[in-house]
Symmetry: C2
Subunit: 120 residues, 2 copies
DNA sequence: CTGATACATTGACAGGCGTCAATATTTAGA
DNA sequence: TCTAAATATTGACGCCTGTCAATGTATCAG
């Protein structure tokens, strides 16, 4: 605790990771858990990617073709692919190739995990 | 929609912002809403800041002195202050000066807003 | 096989972010 | 008022990220 110390004492409760995934507001987080969670929240920390998720969620079929992201997002096709890859790597979306097109859909379980990670 | 177009058609449901705050999985997000939400998620996109929130949540009194972050986080005092400012600017924590010390506590309402923003 | 379309990858660039040392500010106590 | 302690701010640095143009890859139509 170095030289500086206040009157109150930090909790030293045992570090326990939640069943499925680390929780921010539960027990004190391990450094590794924090790093992993942070990288997942990083996937949500961009306007274009949030709009990607939103567009998929708003789609009646629950899936959107890559070509239908480009216009609404106002970004180049490579940039859109870049964002889709980040969301895919984070496990928040999944893709399926059908013919020339690639369709992206939400992974609601992974999104739900992120939500419960900030449960109080 | 440029030159490329798939068989299925995007939903053009009316853009309606939720009562309190934009929701990712509700109606299609406006660009401005997406930008604001993204900036809030950015506050969660760092391991040190997640551990700050976790340390506060794990504290019995619900508040932690700045000096008690420095050791556990393993970062310099200016770096800790920097992260606290980011969390504070995002409205996720609030500070109160008492004597020489500054105590930080969670703003659970704002955290809850972020949680509901990814509600399905 | 050839050409066109849809998507992914690469390379390059500018801007933002995390980090620390140094310094400034605020507060309490002597 | 002077000194020490706690916190915030500034400046500088390297790294990461979002962006696009150019190119590569895959699929279909002919």
């Amino acid at each position: 605790m170095s030289k500086q110390t206040a009157t109150k004492v930090r909790s030293t409760a045992p570090t326990a990771t939640t069943a499925c995934c680390p929780s921010v507001l539960g027990a004190p987080m391990e450094t590794a858990d924090a790093a992993e969670l942070a990288s997942r929240f990083s996937a949500l920390a961009d306007p274009a990617r949030l709009r990607v998720l939103s567009l998929i969620a708003a789609s009646p079929e629950g899936e959107v073709c890559v070509c239908d992201f480009v216009g609404p997002l106002g970004k180049s096709q490579p940039t859109v692919s870049h964002h889709l890859k980040i969301l895919s790597d984070a496990g928040l979306v999944q893709s399926e190739r059908r013919g020339k097109w690639v369709w992206y859909s939400l992974n609601r379980a992974r999104l739900s995990e992120l939500r419960t990670a900030i449960d109080g």
